[in-house]
Each structure stands twice: as C-alpha cells, then as structure tokens.
Assembly symmetry: C2
Homo-oligomer: 217 residues x 2
C-alpha cells in the first residue's frame, strides 16, 4: 500500500487559499492580509481606518493571535464585525483558518475584509490566505535594517506603512534607508509614513484604500 505524502504543505495551503479567493471574488470583497512584527501597530491602524471609512465602506476584520481575544474586542468597539482566530501556538494564519472564520460573516454585506495576521515578520509571508494583496507595517523603533533581515515579507508586500514616525526624533532610524531597501525588494511598493498615535500621514492611506475598493467595483 502506498503512503500518500503531501509533498509541500505550502502547495496544499495554496489550493485552499485559491478557493477562498474565488469566494471573495464572487462576493466582490477586497481582501488585505496585514502583517508586521508584534506591536508595530496593526490593530491601531485598523482602529483609525475603521473610524474614517466605516460610513462609506462595509468592513470586516479577522484577527489572528496565538491566544486571547483582546484585539477583536478592540475592533468590535469600533462598530464593525470582527472574528478572532486563536492559532493555539501556530505562528501564522493559513487558508483553512480563514475559510472557517469567513463563515461567521454575511459576505454579501462586506466590501473590505482585512486579515490581521499573527505578529511575526517571518512565517505569515509564506502562507497565502486568499487575499488580493499583502501589506505590512514597520514601526521606526524596530530599526532601518529590517528589510535586509526579513526580505521575504518586504518583497511580497504591495504597500508598506512606516508607523510611529512621531518617535523619529528619539530613535536611530533612517526612513530613507527603509524606503530604498523596500523599493528594491518590492518595486513600485506604495509607502506611507504615518503615526497611528497622532494621526499624521493617515489621510493618504485612507484615500489609497478607498480607491482600491472603488477600482474593484
């Protein structure tokens, strides 16, 4: 008897991600897969973005965390639907987890679904979940060497949000260096310099998201 072997766990995931993508397409939902280190500001960016866009765009959020439902509770307070995935130790979300979570939403009502991945600059980049676009946040206290050290995530991201620019006077970090390295890894990447704490720079980001969804319709 032959033992069947899944040769490539990434290939198996890609098949499920592709099915998710077809489902999102059928419902005309734009899906962003948001990745970053722990504490770079994913949930803060979503809070701000929801506040600004929820009257014009129907937004759903899937929160990925090892455990706890802290982030989904923060998001739910902003008045949009949020589903928390607890990975139970796994360092990234995968297509199957998203398929399960999506069943909690009324898909006909959504225009935008944002998947907030587990805080991790490595593993989430390897697993598609069915998104239209991967985007990432780098916060300036993390340092300007991160594109060189974690190139896969930067190379796959179509937008890079450089967050916590209000801390630039107090840290050793060159935004120019980040811009240069990120643009080499992902040619044409959209870069936004923002502070989710003060609100600085977020208008350009809101406009870009809104245009993505309009262009899709």
């Amino acid at each position: 008897m032959k033992v069947p072997v899944v040769r490539n766990i990434l290939e198996a995931n890609d098949r499920i991600a592709e099915q998710n993508r077809e489902m999102f397409d059928q419902h005309n939902i734009f899906v962003l897969n948001l990745m970053s280190s722990p504490g770079a500001g994913k949930t803060s960016l979503l809070e701000r973005t929801i506040e600004h866009l929820k009257d014009r765009i129907n937004i759903g959020i899937i929160e990925g965390d090892i455990q706890s439902s802290y982030d989904a509770e923060r998001i739910a307070q902003k008045g949009v639907e949020a589903v928390q995935i607890n990975t139970g130790g796994a360092c990234h979300l995968d297509g199957n987890m998203i398929r399960e979570a999506v069943s909690q939403f009324d898909l006909d009502k959504l225009n935008l679904l944002v998947v907030e991945n587990v805080g991790n600059l490595v593993c989430p980049a390897e697993f598609n979940v069915g998104e239209d676009m991967k985007i990432m946040i780098l916060s300036v206290p993390e340092g300007d060497d991160k594109p060189l050290k974690y190139p896969l995530m930067f190379s796959l991201s179509k937008a890079l949000i450089i967050n916590k620019i209000d801390l630039l006077p107090y840290v050793d970090c060159s935004v120019e260096k980040i811009r240069d390295e990120a643009s080499k890894l992902s040619p044409g990447v959209e870069i936004f310099e923002v502070s989710c704490r003060t609100g600085e720079g977020l208008e350009a980001w809101y406009e870009w998201v809104e245009k993505l969804i309009k262009d899709r319709r």
Copy 2:
C-alpha cells in the same frame, strides 16, 4: 516495509539539544538563549554587554538570522568571536544548527555563549538549543499587551529585559503591567528596565550575568 516516522519534531530536537547541553557542561560554558521580536534590541544589548564584560569573561556569540551577516559583523567589531547562522527562511534556531555553529569555537576558551535567536516572539520558544537559560527582551514601543498575547515565550524566560525605557514618555506602555503579567507567567522572573541607547539600568544586568557565571564555576 515499515516507514519510520519522527512522531514529534520537537522531541527529536530535544535530543540534540540535550547533547549540546552535555558538551557545554563538559567545557563549563554558560549558555543563554536570547529571544525577542525583530528590533527589540538583542544585538544592541549584546554590544553593550560585551563592552562591559569582555575583559573579565570570555564571550562567544552565535547570531541567528534568516539571511545576511549584518549582526555578526556588528558583534565582531566588539572584539569577540561571533558565528552567523543563516536559517534560509526558518523562523527559529534549533539544536542542530547550534551544534554546527559551535564547532567554529574553541570551547575551552569560552565562559559565556549567547545565542541570539531569530527575531520572532513565537517559534524560537518551542525549540531548545541546549541553553542553560532562556531570556527575552521586550521593548516598550511594542506595548504592554505582549505577555498576554505571546505567553509561551514569557513563561519560559528566566529573565526579561524591558528595553527602550527612554521612549516611555512618548509611548502608551505601562511597565508595571508588563511586570505583573510577566511575573504571573514566569514566577520569579528577573526583570531589568534598561535603555541600550542611553545605558540606563544596564549595571544591574551586567552584575546579574557576571554572578550567573561565577556561581557556575
């Protein structure tokens, strides 16, 4: 014909880690496994620690990164031996990688070996490398919710270095909350509040490391 299956990749790793540990014991080397998010300050802490202790303690450093040898070069400039491991995509170091790297050192000359793990709050905690002790860094811009969201690493760490306290006036982060949650997860954890940028608070850390090594001899 039976197909042998390694039932638990963690068990296989633990066996190699145990062999590493015996080797370190034979040479009377104290081994720290240093973990954190990307950009929390692992390399900066090591630079400061080497400057302060290298005249009294023989230190070796193993640097773990996805790719690049940027960190090992920073460390080598401080005048101690450093070996870079490139994991080629893997999100953590394991026992086998450390066994390979250790062959580059003259073990009879070392008192302290620090393994700087890949920047990641999740996966490195699951893989022993043969260390005496796991320790971790959390930087205050990452936020005070991290113990709740990444409990495994906090629960395994015998020391927690809270770094970048010079940024406390500019971020929303309660050191008290971090202390409380970390102490619940790892009772008796040693906590140091430091700034590797300004040097504040590092004396207590240096003394603690020196005492660990003296007590071992």
